[in-house]
């Protein structure tokens, strides 16, 4: 593992090979906003809030810092104008589906946003996939997953697995950036019959 030197916001940062820009920044106490990243999980790149500007060979490019691995001599700007423009728009878009969520409020305040120009149509879930990935990658249970595509996409507990696994686990609940997951789970408590010690779902 060789050390890699890169510059983040004019500060020289040392990183290990294979680290992502986000990890390198965090190690140097530089905060990059993110909603879908979690240190235990495989980088996913869905919320796009961690987008940063990089300059390589004097050419500027926008990349996702949670998946982009560090390179020697890389120049990273985490709060440049195009980056902030993207974050502001994303926060307004997220606000419309998850109003009131604490994590989103905090980021919004940081970027001077106190409202959204979009109509509020709450699902309270931003589909960051932390719960789904945690259950699949760490617990290897797949009690929760995505259904649907595009705007119809939802997170769903699969009742047959969830009824067995979730009551004794619940480790994904605190990972939810909007806090909607426990109520989502409560809704998913499907009625079932018990017959000779086995559960049958209707």
């Amino acid at each position: 593992m060789s050390d890699i030197a890169l510059t983040i916001n004019d500060t020289e940062v040392k990183a290990k090979e294979g680290m992502t820009i986000l990890e390198a920044a965090q190690s140097a106490s530089i905060n990059i906003p993110t909603l879908c990243h979690h240190e235990k999980l495989i980088p996913y790149g869905a919320c796009r809030l961690c987008t940063v500007e990089i300059i390589r060979d004097r050419r500027s490019r926008l990349v996702t810092s949670c998946v982009y691995t560090v390179e020697d001599g890389l120049i990273v700007k985490t709060e440049s104008e195009p980056v902030v423009k993207i974050r502001k728009m994303l926060l307004e878009l997220i606000w419309a589906i998850a109003p009131g969520a604490q994590s989103i409020r905090e980021y919004a305040t940081k970027y001077g946003i106190n409202r959204t120009k979009f109509e509020i149509e709450p699902t309270f879930c931003i589909l960051c996939g932390r719960c789904v990935r945690y259950c699949a990658e760490i617990k290897k249970k797949n009690a929760i997953g995505f259904i649907g595509r595009g705007i119809e996409r939802r997170v769903m507990f699969f009742p047959d697995i969830a009824a067995e696994e979730c009551p004794k686990c619940g480790e994904c609940f605190p990972l939810c950036p909007t806090g909607v997951l426990p109520s989502n789970y409560a809704i998913a408590q499907m009625p079932y019959f018990t017959w000779e010690g086995k559960k049958y779902f209707i």
Binding site: P43, G45, A46, C47, R48, T51, L62, V63, T64, V67, Y68, T69, P82, K85, I86, M89, L90, L93, I94, A96, I97, K117, F118, E119, I126, L127, G129, F146, G148, R149, G150, I151, E152, R153
Partner: protein
């Protein structure tokens, strides 16, 4: 079938096939591509068989069902060789006449192509639609029965493979790189460089993939190539595999393409029997086989990383590609993916050389490109043109211009993620970089022509609606951004547009473009941004004046019967499905706007000599005439 153990065996087989075939023996070829199939080509083929038997000509005439000829507008297409007599719009009932006239050495005039001046064209190649094309990739379709590998071999098929297998892979790679073959699937990435990356990537196991997940609305180039000439794609794939050092290939084809799936299966089976697939291909020691994977109908699976995820058996969702799929693709192994057309071009480059290939096209884009020319154009179908040909030549020389004497308005290239190019830029050459410069893209080859009756807000809305449904929903800018843009477009189309909507569309569009995870998202705003760029006045008319200049957006138009022109013929009144028209004999007809569903039937059925129904947009409706108003009879029609 004999096993081919060497290049010499293949050549011997080819000579045998040719020896059995008399080039002067009449052969009726019937286009059996998807377009002609829908017109009933199978019935035409059966009628030919029956009629030929009835005349006792079985021994004297060959019948061949071929792949798509391209001129889908005029199907079913029948070409009689060796003279190459081309009959269009052939119906089963025409067959007895075709046979009897052909026996007499005469032509069936009414089935020949007629140019605008009444002049008949006999030979396929002389029809203007074909004359301006260079069909190097697609042209073989019309000679080949896709279910018979011998047809392909007879035309020199697999000779490029035979050549390659006894070359060093580096040499093959050099040739493909020198040809500067750019990916035909949309991205335009140089295939040679991609091959090299996969070849040099660490790892023993490598994969090659054919991307046949063609999903653009109105586009069917890859479909017709796979259906009509599957071996050309397969030969290209084996050549690529040999060059890269891969022993396993995948063909990812849409389940919605049943004929392509069927013909591919037959092709693979026949290739295996000749041992053109399998172990020790042509005695070279090279092993390779292919598996067909049928897609489940997701547009996003055409994106390379999503396609590979789907191949692994998971939901087709893209992943960030900072480590390229060429290095880490299926099961994290180096995987080289190219589009159907790219693979089919490879054998041609090998056989004719990179110099031949680079002599066609422009500085940055070499060779030819197949487009599916559709929309408001006289000759719809598949066209293959050299790079550098202008859009004008494609739309007017090949496409024959706009039907019904309407005015050209724009041409949409690049599928749902492309842009609309206006009349002023019709001299833009077909070239990867030039099309991007004008705000559109080459894409996989969709080309939709639009006339003056097309509303650009409606077009943007249509494509965005498609993308909102087809976005996988993984990343926020694509999922939520497209949805919010679509909502704005919907309200503009409904007459509820607000000042600032255009700017907001641009603002969201730029973020979706810059922040989305995969190419579906980064290109999704193109239809909106390009129409705003070239047709901003149309957006403004919708927002400020609540007027749809093309008369398309239903909420912004009204049908109106001009009382001074109405002759009380009762035709519109009887045809109105909503029973919204009142009036009677000798009484002026009026439309009840509350009941009207704006289907436009009244305008269609009003006799042109009266021309009383008009479509109004953006202006207040005149006061309706009081019920019982009698019509003013036109002069000359009074008794």
């Amino acid at each position: 079938m004999p096993r081919l153990n060497s290049a010499a065996d293949l050549e011997r087989l080819r000579q045998e096939i040719l020896a059995q075939r008399d080039p002067n023996k009449p052969c009726v070829t019937i286009c059996s591509g998807t377009g002609c199939h829908a017109y009933g080509s199978e019935k035409v083929a059966e009628a030919f068989i029956k009629e030929i038997q009835r005349n006792g000509l079985q021994e004297k005439v060959d019948i061949r069902r071929t792949g798509c000829h391209g001129f889908c507008e005029r199907g079913t297409i029948v070409v009689i060789f060796p003279e190459e007599i081309c009959y269009l719009r052939v119906k089963p009932e025409d067959i007895p006449e075709i046979i009897s006239k052909t026996l007499e050495g005469k032509l069936v005039d009414r089935l020949l192509y007629e140019d605008g001046t009444g002049q008949k064209v006999v030979h396929e190649g002389e029809i203007p639609f074909y004359k301006h094309q260079s069909r190097i990739v697609f042209g073989s379709n019309r000679f080949i029965d896709p279910k018979n590998i011998n047809d392909y071999i007879a035309r020199g098929g697999y000779s490029a493979l035979a050549k390659v297998l006894f070359m060093a892979p580096e040499q093959v790679l050099e040739e493909v790189k020198r040809a500067n073959l750019r990916g035909r699937g949309g991205g335009g990435f140089p295939a040679g460089i991609k091959w090299e990356a996969t070849r040099n990537a660490p790892g023993e196991i490598k994969y090659v993939i054919v991307n046949a997940d063609e999903g653009d609305p109105g586009a069917y180039m890859d479909r017709s190539l796979l259906e009509g000439n599957p071996h050309s794609v397969l030969e290209g794939l084996i050549i690529g595999a040999y060059t890269i050092g891969s022993h396993q290939g995948f063909i990812y084809v849409r389940q919605e393409y049943p004929l392509a799936v069927e013909n591919l299966a037959v092709a693979l089976e026949q290739a295996r029997e000749y041992r053109l697939l399998g172990t020790n291909i042509l005695g070279s020691g090279f092993d390779f086989d292919v598996q067909v994977h049928r897609g489940a109908g997701a547009f996003v699976s055409g994106e390379s990383s999503a396609l590979m995820t789907a191949l692994e058996g998971r939901v087709g969702e893209p992943r960030p590609k900072y480590i390229r799929t060429a290095v880490s693709g299926i099961w994290q192994r180096p995987s080289n993916l190219n589009n159907v057309e790219t693979w089919a071009t490879v054998p041609l480059i090998i056989n004719n050389g990179a110099d031949w290939f680079t002599s066609i096209g422009t500085e940055g884009s070499k060779g030819t490109k197949i487009f599916s020319l559709v929309g408001k154009v006289n000759n719809t179908g598949l066209v293959e043109v050299p790079m550098g040909m202008t859009l004008k030549e494609v739309v007017f020389d090949i496409g024959g211009g706009i039907p019904k004497g309407k005015k050209f308005k724009g041409v949409q290239t690049g599928g749902p993620s492309g842009g609309v190019i206006p009349e002023g830029l019709l001299d833009t050459p077909i070239d990867f970089d030039e099309l991007t410069k004008v705000g559109s893209m080459m894409g996989s080859g969709g080309m939709i022509v639009m006339d003056e009756d097309t509303c650009m807000v409606d077009v943007a809305r249509y494509f965005l609606n498609f993308l909102a449904e087809e976005s996988c929903g993984k990343c926020i800018p694509c999922r939520e951004g497209i949805y919010q843009m679509l909502k704005i477009l919907n309200r503009i189309g409904a007459g509820d547009g607000r000042t600032g909507d255009i700017e907001q569309l641009e603002e969201i569009g730029e973020v979706v473009r810059d922040a989305s995870l995969c190419a579906l998202g980064t290109t999704a705003p193109n239809p909106v941004l390009s129409t705003i760029r070239y047709f901003r006045d149309e957006y403004e008319a919708h927002i400020k004046h609540k007027r749809c200049p093309a008369g398309v957006c239903k909420e912004l138009i009204a049908y109106y019967i001009q009382p001074e022109k109405c002759q009380a013929c009762l035709i519109c009144l009887r045809n109105c499905p909503a029973e919204a028209i009142t009036g009677g004999k000798n009484l002026v007809h009026t439309i009840d706007q509350d009941k009207c569903t704006k289907c436009g039937v009244c305008l269609e059925v009003c006799p042109p000599r009266f021309d009383a129904v008009v479509k109004l947009s953006g202006i207040a409706l005149p006061e309706p005439v009081p019920p019982g108003t009698e019509v003013i009879r036109k002069r000359g029609r009074e008794k």
